[in-house]
Subunit: 307 residues, 2 copies
């Protein structure tokens, strides 16, 4: 497999998004398996957050290119151990799982439902990193129409852009990780994070700091009991799932390396094409796919396989 | 509230989809609360399936207008008690919860993952009710672009149509209920059903019999542990959640009546508009919404409130 990848690489590296004949595939799995090493991007271990909870381990990739101040704040909290002994405070069906760092000075950090919460004034508000200049980004448009904006991909991420404002942003899809905040102008401080466990809530795009996505381990968290209170908050402390420890992958000796597929590669174009034109079980391929369905392949690579 | 609804009804009944000034609303909840009685459609209790499992009660509305043979087959199975002592056999994260009727003659009814299952030959195959003629349906187009087809609503359902083929179909969204089947040409027999618990898998549209949607009680089922085997099948019988009883609402004395919002009404147009242009928490309304986000309001009505 590795030899094949090396042989195929020179042929594929120069390709535009349209997959060459040699990459014609029938399934996304096939396209992923055949992608040469050059079509994968190494994920910086310093951008990977490893969260251990009573439900399991969730591995999260952070996106400093889209929300640098929020990601820096989250990393600082992680390094300070603030998420250790945190809690999953809210699970709302078809929406989000949300967790919070340990309260500081006995003061509850957790957001309350809008009807009971007051305007939060944070000592050092973070900028509203809800979108960023599109300039400087490699934006590969999706071939398919989007209900919300111009859909596409930026260096391994599902994203969208607006030519009028000249901005781009990460899309809210299943597994997206964002920063909980209170009513505007609050922007959150990174001590409360959520991940999406339902239909992609794209209306959150450009309204909240999207800081990453789950690489692995969403399943047991998406299966947590939904909270009985408004917005899926748990009523009792005992219902909250405990977060035992949160670290960056760079802090864990021997932690697996992760890679994401280069969304500007021919392999990813083949994945997109295959997901839009499924065969086998499907008698009538859709001929299209929405942005959230076009998930970017990621993979765990054993340390020994990586130079 | 009821008096208000009666007063408002003559004014609103003749309206086209554009909401009249008197119905200008800021939130979907507001539009739902203010919808007059004439903007709600009673759901036939004979089209409601009440499933009691060890996890809770799930109330499902069937769609005989879209899959008459499959719905008839399901109702026959319900009346024969075949789902009693059935099992939830599969929970695949970001995809489906699937359950099966009791095996007949000790023969396992449950589908197996594609790599292990053989072509099923059913004694009386059902027609492939994956789409139907659009003619005769009241199709209210969504104001917003769709990645897959022309999106819209048909008498209280999220649907799509194709002008070239002259067909329409129900869309696969969170809470959609469909009929599990094996590889084509199998069409399923209604003894295995699933509901969607992830991002709307619209690629299933026109490829499988979509027979309804969950009205209530999806939460504890969406929170069931994901199965460890391929496609989320459970490995051991003990992991399968037991279905204690499945009945039609028409078989249960005093069961609540249910209503769905008329998707051709001005109230629904207001709901759509509000969902696409959220306020309060949202600093930049999306100005659009995809089909699966535009869920049709449904409500439980106490028997005494219904004539």
């Amino acid at each position: 497999m590795k030899r094949l990848a090396i042989l195929a690489a020179p042929l594929l590296m120069a390709q535009a998004p349209a997959p060459p004949a040699s990459l014609t595939v029938t399934t996304a799995d096939d396209a992923i398996a055949r992608a040469p090493a050059s079509h994968w991007i190494a994920i910086n271990p310093d951008d990977i957050m490893v969260m251990d909870t009573a439900a399991g381990r969730m591995v999260i990739q952070l996106a400093p290119d889209f929300a640098p101040a929020h990601v820096a704040a989250i990393k600082a909290l992680v390094k300070a151990g603030r998420f250790n002994d945190g809690r999953i405070v809210r699970v709302q069906d078809n929406y989000v799982v949300q967790w919070a760092a340990r309260p500081v000075d006995g003061k509850e950090v957790v957001s309350q439902p809008p009807d009971v919460r007051e305007q939060r004034v944070r000592p050092t508000p973070l900028p509203a990193e809800y979108e960023r200049p599109a300039k400087g980004l490699t934006f590969t448009p999706s071939p398919y129409t989007d209900s919300y904006a111009e859909a596409g991909f930026v260096s391994g991420w599902q994203a969208a852009r607006d030519r009028k404002t000249g901005t781009a942003w990460l899309a809210h899809c299943y597994g997206t990780v964002g920063v909980g905040r209170d009513m505007p102008p609050d922007t959150g401080d990174g001590a409360e994070l959520y991940t999406v466990i339902g239909h992609g809530p794209r209306h959150l795009d450009r309204n909240i700091a999207n800081v990453g996505r789950v690489l692995a381990g969403i399943e047991p968290h998406a299966a947590l009991p939904r909270g009985s209170e408004a917005l899926g908050f748990y009523k009792d402390e005992a219902q909250r799932t405990k977060i035992t420890q949160v670290r960056l992958a760079s802090q864990i000796a021997g932690f697996s390396r992760w890679q994401m597929m280069d969304t500007a590669s021919a392999s990813f174009a083949a994945v997109v094409q295959a997901r839009a034109n499924r065969t086998g079980f499907f008698i009538r391929p859709a001929g299209a796919a929405d942005l959230c369905t076009l998930r970017v392949p990621v993979r765990e690579v054993a340390q020994s396989d990586v130079k």
